[in-house]
């Protein structure tokens, strides 16, 4: 029994029956329907919207349902400068999201504060929420955001699900 929780499926052998582990199946469902919570704050939000529009379709990867409700989303894409005034709202929305949840810090401002080294800008959203992926750019191209989304899908596909549930219960 391999520790690797990836989907093991061979069409020549199994045909229409998929014989796999629960972890792999659950992760496959999850990674192909990651619903982002767009924390669209500034200019990066426009590139986020552009990646949701027709040219760089984000719905090819199952993520076009940009729900602004934290209860219904999986990943929070922090796009734009987080100021100190906004910081606690971002934290509160992150806390309201249901596990499993991930965070993509999109752009220079969300990753480290960007070009705004001033009295009012939080120097990186990782001061308040745990970030899984940092996307560089000011603003990053939609292709870069999609790259981050694909890497997030890889990360999701490797998550141990059953062992975590067993440990929790």
């Amino acid at each position: 029994m391999t520790q690797n929780a990836e989907l093991g499926y061979n069409t020549k052998v199994e045909g229409e029956v998929v014989h796999t582990r629960v972890d792999a199946a659950i992760n496959w469902f999850r990674k192909n329907s990651i619903w982002p919570m767009p924390m669209g704050l500034a200019c990066c939000a426009i590139e986020l919207m552009a990646s949701g529009a027709s040219r760089f379709d984000i719905s090819r990867f199952g993520a076009e349902v940009m729900r602004f409700s934290p209860r219904q989303s999986d990943v929070m894409i922090v796009s734009g400068t987080v100021t100190y005034k906004m910081a606690l709202s971002v934290k509160r929305i992150y806390d309201q999201m249901a596990s499993p949840k991930w965070v993509i810090a999109m752009g220079a401002c969300a990753s480290t504060g960007g070009m705004f080294r001033s009295y009012a800008t939080l120097q990186g959203v990782d001061n308040i929420v745990p970030v899984d992926f940092y996307v560089a750019g000011c603003p990053p191209r939609p292709e870069a955001l999609l790259d981050a989304l694909l890497k997030l899908q890889e990360k999701v596909s490797k998550e141990p699900v059953i062992s975590v549930w067993k440990k929790a219960s």
Binding site: L41, I46, S54, R55, T83, M86, S89, F116, Y119, T121
Partner: protein, 423 residues
Amino acid sequence: MANTHEIQFGEAAARASRAAEDLPDLQGEKMVLNMGPSHPSTHGVLRIILELDGETITKATPDVGYLHRGDEKIAENMTWNQFVPYTDRLDYLAPMANNVAYALAVEKLFGIQDKLPPRCQYIRTICCELSRISSHLLGIGCFAMDVGALTVFLLTFTEREKVYNLQEALTGARLTTSYTRIGGVARDLPPGWVEQCRKFLSEVVININEVATLLDRNRIWVDRTRDVGVIPKDVAIDYGLTGPNLRGSGVDFDLRKKQPYLIYKDLDFDVPLGSVGDCYDRYLVRMEEMRQSVNLVRQCLDKLPGGADNKSKEPVSIQDGKITLPPKGKVLSSMEELIHQFMIVTTGVNAPVGEVYFGHENPKGELGFYINSRGGGTPYRLKIRAPSFVNLSVLPYLLPGHLMSDTVSILGSLDFVMGECDR
């Protein structure tokens, strides 16, 4: 067989008022609703604290400042050219217009506005008008998306991608262009750009007409925007509104006509005005402004000094080593240019003592820069008069009396952007 029993519904409002007569103490208290900083229809991080009586708004208090990044204090610590990238991020939907506005304000301080070479002025005008088309496309797209017409958003974003292609070919970046420098622009038009631009213009007109067919006489759109958010003329001037918001109320004030800068004096265009001042008028003004901008860009492309390929090597910046960076070949071989390059990069272009205000017709309104300089390479005080900041101050007057769902129409029609409002 079930007993069928016909129910008379009658007029719902009449029933409600009869019920209200019987129970007068059902008039509840007002509810305070927080339309929070993270909300799909507030364009950016705007917080509005609404007091509602049922569905009707009785009081609205906007709370801005969630994107305040300290631009004005940063400006006191940056040289004139170093601040250009920060101006991109003000109204990030029309970055080239902000760049041009800042460059013109600093050039007014220096007194070199009339020394700009003609090719540079034409290129800057083309950039401003392309930004206007791009910003209005997004303004209308998001307005329609919030009201519920999702297709318009996808249609307008397709055209915006074409503007992004043009911007990327010209400046290297899709969104944050940082194109202008003090005394000119960063680089000349690349080969093939003019043809690409003309092709885009013919396509965007088709797209604008498509959006117009979808929305102009659409029953739902008209019902949601007609007579909603009416701003009378004197109120609009008193609250300092500018741009399509002011012109939607019927005030003929366009800085390109009243206080012309660049080459707008030589160009032929109309300024659309609204009559009622409601959301529908502001939408129509923006649609017509886009068509006028297409016309303006075509005129500029036809009259461009040096033509598409600039065979006559027209300059795109003032050829003065004290103001713009000298050509690199000269810098590496001649002493004087080396010193000029060194001074411009380290201490910044030396400004005279004085203060100026320059207002520029941005797509959102009048973007003004008040620069107080005490000499040297950095401003002593740079105040950015942001159109969205002033446009939002009309909300406490405008929102009360409307229904909760009209808030979305009004916010969409005011077309503000928080990057500019909070700086």
